[in-house]
Symmetry: D2
Subunit: 353 residues, 4 copies
């Protein structure tokens, strides 16, 4: 049933398949009067584009975003904003193989199980390309946050087992891996090259940090800020784990270590990652996601066809070695969307303060 | 704003504070005709009760659940089911200290920041006691799952750094830590005793496994099964991390390792934890949550009062050393609720199949 | 499926059957800091009580409302507010007849068709008594409106064909029919007496007027203010028609008559009933509902039993002759709930203005 | 805030302004496997097109609908279906006058009051053109209903005070007024011509009848079938009243007249209009809406400008005399959408029966 709506007040509905005519999003609930143009959307679209990173695909994706409604004279009108990106390379590919075979690690089998059949062209709705609409919507949500002094950044802190040992966020845009540690970025590059030559793929960890988040966002007990962030991030195709602040490491701490004491200047540490009892506490929001390795690999794998008969499959052509760093902007987008929604939710009930 | 509703078709709204007159839940959307009595609820309530585990509190909690509507002649009628548990020990305590001081690791500060003031008695709505309604609702959701052959179990696989090395689920109810490894349970007991003597507390990891889940549950791209599970579990007070299947470990695997190949018998491994592209794949569902150590400790900690002036605080009285094992049934409840909801969601659109 | 939730930001979930242990409501989303006590609820509960009006039932209903959560030191805390009313006369009646027979004009047949069976005691959830939760919730919504200068009044403008020819709202509380025309009230009394002696029942029209509503409430194009009001009112058991402003009479007007011209003082007429394009325009909100005659009559009527076999039925005992005036407070409650919700919805996106 | 989503399981989000680049809808929640093509959409689009009726506008609207996602090999895939209609005559008009003046009976004033400014071109989102998305979505919902034997028809039963005295639905498509009474259609034609010469406009009443609706649809107590129908219809721009079955006439009946008795063949009358206690009863669904006269008239009217200064306005150019018959397909669309949604909602909980 319906499951493509996200957000309560800043609500979006995304649509589109990998190789259909177009993809897009409708944003319902944006306040009126926010300056917003196709240039805003495009700047986010361009961040989805493969850069020089060797992890990246070589497919050309000159995604051009069009705003079809809800913006007048350069400002949002308060009515739904429809944004569309046409699929330019939606040309006829040869999908004969994946039409009948289930690719390991992909949604082919589950889409068939759920819907009875599937749009097999390039993964259809299960393709990473689905995130176009999310990113387009985030380009507007980001304008709301910016006007409130909230800033969100995603960084690669682990790739193929190489960990960033520093958090110099000024470096994130300086290397193709969006890594806050220049040295680690170099090591990642070598790891990627070596794994590429083996026809295999890599996973990693992305950390998203939001600063300037006011205390008070989050709606206990089910729409807590951490709960909504967890859903938003776990819903990204490649994500298999989400943790806030110290996360799983907190499970190995004592209370006396993990508790963030308070002083005149505020919290003296941030193991909570900016969220206490599901509500932002004014400290930086820190969320990490575990990204699984890309399932498309050129190594031969066992699988079955739609009739359940054993077969083997091998992904030909050039593919990304890792969802990172292309997934980073998607992680940033989802955190941005959740924060904008919760910001409005809190405004709805606190107007007298 | 409103944030106490969970689920789309099997929808619940919980209410109640730690030391108010009562707590409860209203379940809206349960199919009619399901056999359901107060005994069903009570059996789940009793699992929240401190057992012989030394981790457990010594407070008496003879929670008696009453069904106030929606059940007639022992069966659900299809109308809302209201379940209430009265707070028996809601007697006047001395809350003078926590009324003015923010306890580190608790929601005291954020509730004040959000709402302007708070019900400080025993943590109010931020208390673990809030979960009474969730568990009561799950006792009905479990009946739906049972009738479809779906079974959900939560087990402690790590406590205070002690890891279970086995997964013998038949042992879970045999030891006070709900641990599937008898040897580990003994070690946990020693760890708890030692930490108790230090006035500190412990965290751990709970794993929830669901078997019998049919392929096809989950609604891409925002209401994916893993996204909804992540929200449901991250929304539990003590949880700081959620992972599915291999989870964060997948971030360190190669694609060739992490991909679950398929054969005539189905999937040859289960790194996906039963979910592919946000849809259940028929393999066992495996979810793990990282539980932070209980913030209430008898060690003295720095804090501030409501005016921001530095102070110190120490939690007196007897307290749990860990949210585990009392949180386990809550984790199980949340997974149960999400599965029942998604089961109905899939029925809504697949009636012809 | 789930259908007992109303409102987006000021959201309520009601529960309870006519002859179950209790009925109630949970309010999720009320702003914190609103003064609210059981006395507020009780004052609305008492308006549901049969007064001296001869239309009223003679059953005693000393409904006592209890607030079980969400209020602390006399103010709302921002957490869910649970309000319960116990059914005092839920004693064992003799329902043998209506257990098997479908009462004409009642929901007996449709509840069986939908749910497979039903709680036949006193109509179960289809009883007018279901509205207890709505009215309890409105007692809080009314406090929000009051603090913003918004006032809502329901008046009987037609009963059994007798029309009020005046709209002197100061008279509404002066006569048992809540009629703004004293002369009409007397005629209504005679009509009621005569119909009572025939064992029949009457319908009528209730008008709800809200003053002080600011311009700008309503969310096009589906959650327009008039759309939400129509749903809220049509969802009351006895209502068969809803109209705004001139309503159906507008269908017979010319554009030049129906259009409300504007001048320096605002609108020069109010055929729109305070709503233009689904958004409040600052003029008084005027809504009317058509109330069908009470289906329980002592005249004998043809019906069938659960097996479809023809039979006859006659409602014994004393019954109301009309849902009016008891339904009036329910109409007022629903308008109050919708306005409070839309007031918060508009706050959520207009905080900068 | 967000208000452009309609439906729970068959959920749509519409977007687009009268003179923006395009309008459209995203349908989220349609079951997979339904045969659906652009021809289905187009057949409904064409019904919006002005026919030979003299009431109709002379503007050309060759609306071409494109399906951009969610359909593969001629069948729905279960993923969101995006449908877009480009605005061909979105050329630069002269809007200088309505940019500053509030047209009586239009949403100009309320849009400014709500959003601070507005897209004044042709009414923006408040234009009747907004309904393109609703009708496009209904073309798919209708396929679901058709496969279940449910049929929906809208007929003009009153226009400018001329009432249809017959209900011969076979005539509806035989005359330009979609009137089930050929004689009345002729009188309507004369009335329209005379009012057109006066530069004025007309309202009327549209009746929507649905046959084949199974008993059991509707979700008490807030999402009752009549409540959802009322919202769906009242949310259409020109609608000021909604009634079910006998509607307001029931307010003047005795219970003994209004109650629908039952016999072996089912209900012996249909004053309830197919709905009892908010649930369909298997009898034909009968809903009527009161349509206000079109506000754009060439007679001069008093108004104010954006600064509140008195002025006068007159709508030049050729305009429709009445929203009827163009609004009829919109009424039919909304009833179709509500029925498809409730059909799925009932399936979700009744799969065992």
């Amino acid at each position: 049933m319906a499951g493509n709506t996200c957000g309560t007040l800043f609500r979006i509905m995304t649509w589109g398949e990998s190789h259909g005519p177009a993809l897009g999003v409708v944003i319902d609930g944006a306040p009126s009067g926010i300056p917003f143009t196709e240039a805003h959307v495009q700047s986010w679209m361009d961040r989805r584009k493969p850069g020089s990173a060797k992890t990246s695909t070589t497919r050309k994706e000159p995604d051009k975003a069009r705003i079809l409604s809800g913006v007048f004279e350069g400002k949002t009108t308060g009515t739904p904003i429809s944004i569309m990106v046409e699929n330019r390379d939606a040309r006829s590919h040869n999908y004969d193989e994946i039409k009948e075979l289930y690719r390991p690690g992909h949604g082919d089998f589950t889409y068939d199980a759920k819907y009875g059949f599937r749009d097999y062209r390039g993964g259809g709705r299960a393709s990473a390309r689905e995130t176009v609409g999310r990113v387009a919507a985030a380009s507007l949500a980001a304008e709301i946050l910016k006007s409130e002094g909230i800033s969100v950044t995603a960084a690669t802190i682990e790739l193929g087992g190489i960990e960033a040992r520093r958090r110099d966020y000024s470096l994130v845009d300086e290397n193709p891996y969006l890594c806050p540690d220049a040295e680690a970025a170099l090591a990642m590059d070598q790891r990627v090259a070596s794994v590429r030559s083996e026809g295999d793929s890599l996973g990693g960890v992305v950390e998203v940090v939001a600063t300037g988040v006011p205390a008070g966002l989050g709606e206990p007990v089910f729409d807590k800020l951490d709960a909504d962030l967890a859903a938003a991030l776990m819903g990204i195709g490649a994500v298999k784990g989400v943790e806030i602040g110290a996360g799983f490491a907190a499970a190995r701490m004592r209370g006396s270590e993990n508790n963030d004491e308070m002083g005149e200047e505020g919290f003296l540490s941030n193991h909570a990652g900016g969220i206490l009892a599901g509500i932002s506490n004014g400290a930086p929001l820190v969320v990490r996601v575990g990204i699984k390795p890309i399932p498309s690999i050129s190594k031969t794998q066992k699988t079955v066809n739609r009739s359940g008969e054993p077969s083997a499959i091998q992904t030909l052509g050039r593919h990304d070695i890792s969802a990172i760093p292309r997934v980073n902007v998607v992680c940033e987008a989802m955190v941005t969307l959740v924060l904008a929604d919760h910001f409005l939710r809190q405004k709805a009930v606190s107007w007298r303060r």
